[in-house]
């Protein structure tokens, strides 16, 4: 190597290093600049103002606890007890929680020496430790109370509405009604609602104990009461999950069945005619490009909401994706195997069946199984738009903004469902085309 060559190489190397160094600084700088732009474009600063931390608190506490409402209707004087204040969770006539006592004066013991008394003539007394006894009188639509003008921040009061929040529970008073919310940990009535005879019985007393409901055997009765639980709707939830999985299954498999024959038209090896090939490829690009969202919207107009619409939306979008990958796999098949099969006098269809399909099946199957799992997730999202499956139940539960324990329950179910499908598709892949790792 001469000195000129060496110098030249040195110079080249120097240039490459300089370029590397420039990139090393430029890429982080560009990303930083972009994120700065995003910070203002997304108004991250204003986000703190818009965020509702009370919502976050309710969400966090409600998702693992439940509350029991003790409500006095100030017009009729009637007192009702209900879990989550819902009709479905109402205590049957003549029954009430153990922490409520008294007949003439109803005493609600919230625990920790917090006591609320419902007195006759719509009077209410609230005892809170380290705070003077609160007395409130409801008359028509107004409230009169002995609350001082200077209030701690856990009490909000006007002459129409008083709200008291304590660690033990919440009390709201208006002219029309007085309500006490007592909080407990856990998902109440998950197994049986209060009107079921099995409520309050443990698993052993149901399975081995005496017959609780004389008309039915214990296990059958308990299973049916649990299945038809009006509060948690186990039957509907199971159907919804089934619908979501069904959407993913029908969509993925249908797409594979449509895409496989079409992929032959898009592969150079099997379709020498340029026009046909290009047309098929553009068709794949088109259905893929339109995207599941638009397909869902269009199909929902024709078929109405439901799992079929979701399945078809997945089917159409994935036909494009599958068509693309399948035709790529078909391009890469080994010609020798096809020649071998045709040397035995095989007809074209037989050549495809024995020469081509065995070569591409592993690629196709692993692709299909991977999509089966990912489409379970898409089906959840599409379900929320088109109205079907667990996605719809989740959106509804979130939009009503009160059943956060149900939202938490659905989220857990969705995660378990997707992980199960992930496991299933991995297992099937292992069984059908041999374990890779």
């Amino acid at each position: 190597m001469t000195a000129v060559d060496l110098n030249h190489t040195k110079f080249e190397a120097e240039k490459i290093f300089q370029r590397k160094r420039l990139f090393g600084f430029a890429i982080p700088a560009v990303i930083l600049a972009y994120l700065t732009y995003i910070f203002f474009a997304f108004d991250v600063e204003g986000l703190a103002g818009r965020a509702n931390w009370d919502n976050a608190m309710t969400l966090a506490s409600d998702s693992w606890s439940h509350k029991v409402h003790v409500t006095r209707d100030n017009r009729s004087g009637e007192i009702s007890y209900a879990v989550e204040g819902e009709r479905k969770g109402r205590y049957p006539e003549g029954e009430r929680p153990t922490w409520v006592s008294g007949d003439e004066v109803i005493v609600v013991d919230l625990g920790g020496d917090h006591i609320v008394r419902y007195l006759p003539q719509n009077r209410t007394e609230i005892e809170i430790p380290d705070f003077p006894l609160i007395q409130v009188q409801a008359e028509g639509r107004t409230l009169t109370s002995n609350l001082p003008a200077d209030l701690p921040d856990w009490i909000s009061a006007s002459d129409r509405r008083i709200g008291i929040t304590t660690p033990e529970g919440r009390i709201t008073l208006t002219g029309a009604r007085t309500e006490v919310f007592n909080y407990f940990a856990g998902w109440e009535l998950f197994w049986f609602t209060l009107d079921s005879p099995y409520h309050g019985h443990g698993i052993t007393s149901i399975v081995f104990g005496e017959r609780i409901d004389p008309t039915r055997s214990n296990i059958a009765g308990a299973v049916s009461d649990w299945w038809n639980n009006a509060m948690w709707r186990h039957k509907d939830v199971a159907w919804a999950i089934g619908e979501t999985v069904l959407m993913a299954f029908l969509g993925t498999m249908g797409a594979a069945m449509v895409a496989l024959p079409l992929a032959f038209f898009a592969a150079k090896r099997f379709t020498p005619i340029m026009v046909v090939r290009a047309a098929t490829r553009r068709l794949f690009d088109f259905v893929r490009g339109v995207d599941a969202l638009i397909w869902t919207v269009v199909l929902a107009r024709a078929f109405g909401p439901g799992p079929l619409t979701g399945a078809l939306a997945i089917l159409i979008t994935d036909t494009g994706t599958f068509g693309k990958t399948f035709s790529e796999a078909l391009e890469n098949v080994d010609q020798k195997q096809i020649e071998g099969v045709s040397s035995t006098g095989a007809k074209p269809l037989q050549r495809y069946r024995f020469g081509v399909i065995p070569q591409v099946v592993p690629v196709l199957l692993s692709q299909i199984l991977y999509f089966l799992e990912s489409n379970t997730r898409s089906a959840t999202i599409i379900g929320a738009i088109t109205g079907g499956g667990i996605g719809l139940m989740l959106t509804q539960a979130i939009q009503t903004q009160k059943d956060w324990e149900e939202v938490a329950y659905y989220i857990v179910l969705i995660v378990v469902m997707v992980m199960f499908m992930d496991w299933l598709s991995g297992w099937l892949r292992g069984r059908l085309i041999g374990q890779k790792d």
Partner: protein, 291 residues
């Protein structure tokens, strides 16, 4: 001696043939049964889905074209206004792309860390590998819409909830793909760096990154394509961007179909363009690696 050997041959061939035919028969039977079960699953699944759908499949089939036809004809009538509408919705499109880009950036960064911490041979704390793998499994399993809806409730509508939701899912999905690549990385470079006293992060940046970068970038680009679609869909549930505008335009029904058409065009064009660009670039990246 020779006789016995000769007489044994036809016998062996016969037995081989019969046992081969029996095997073929059994294989065909199993194959046929699998196919039958699959066909039954498909048909019954279709019947159930059809049954639980609001409108039936056969009644709806001939109506598929109605809605696109309505939209197209109205858009055609008002075609003069279409360019103006495309311009009007362009900022929404930029927002949708921004959501996808930022969430891909954050997701790729998160996936990178998770994958390095969850790969045998590279992990900083080898005992915690299963923990980081489970974390990325869960992040991958949560559909974006779940996190987006919860965050919309807390943070209010807008791009940020969608961005966080997609980023979390992206981190989980990329962590799995990244760690598959990282598993095949050559450990010699890392050992060499370790012998010079390099810290864990130096070993990763100088020893692992150069080996895996082309594949990582290619996966991140693929994810970006997917995320554009995801961010459009999340917009539909109230997270801003093009999807949100689409829902509003659709809620108006006839009379505003030209707006829906403009949004359709923008969305379709964006997806196709980004698909093409990223697939070209990805091909270059992975081909360059083979040389």
């Amino acid at each position: 001696m020779a006789d016995t050997a000769l007489s044994g041959v036809p016998h062996t061939i016969n037995s081989i043939q019969t046992s081969y035919m029996a095997q073929v028969q059994r294989k065909r039977l199993y194959g046929g049964l699998t196919l039958l079960i699959f066909a039954m699953l498909m048909v019954s699944g279709f019947v159930v889905a059809d049954d639980r759908n609001a409108g039936g499949f056969w009644e709806g089939l001939h109506q598929i074209g109605d809605y696109p036809a309505d939209v197209l004809s109205e858009a055609w009538e008002k075609r003069a206004e279409l360019p103006a509408l495309v311009v009007k919705y362009f900022p929404a499109l930029v927002e949708t792309i921004n959501i996808a880009a930022v969430s891909t950036l954050f997701g790729a960064a998160g996936g990178l860390v998770l994958s390095l911490l969850g790969t045998r041979g590279l992990a900083k704390w080898p005992r915690l590998i299963p923990l980081f793998r489970r974390i990325s499994d869960v992040m991958r399993a949560v559909p974006e819409i779940v996190i987006a809806l919860v965050l919309i409730f807390v943070l209010g509508g807008g791009p940020v909830p969608a961005m966080i939701a997609i980023a979390i899912h992206t981190a989980g999905a990329l962590a799995k793909m990244f760690s598959e690549v990282a598993e095949n990385a050559d450990l010699k470079a890392i050992e060499g760096l370790a012998s010079t006293g390099a810290t864990w992060s130096q070993r990763m940046v100088l020893g692992v990154f150069p080996q895996v970068a082309p594949n990582y970038v290619s996966y991140a680009l693929l994810r970006f394509e997917i995320n554009i679609r995801a961010s459009a869909i999340l917009g539909f549930v109230g997270a801003g961007g093009l999807g949100y505008e689409l829902r509003n335009a659709m809620a108006w029904g006839p009379g505003r179909f030209d707006e829906a058409a403009a949004i359709f065009i923008l969305l379709f064009g964006t997806i196709v363009v980004f698909d093409q660009v990223s697939s070209r670039y990805r091909n270059r990246l992975t081909e360059g690696q083979g040389q």
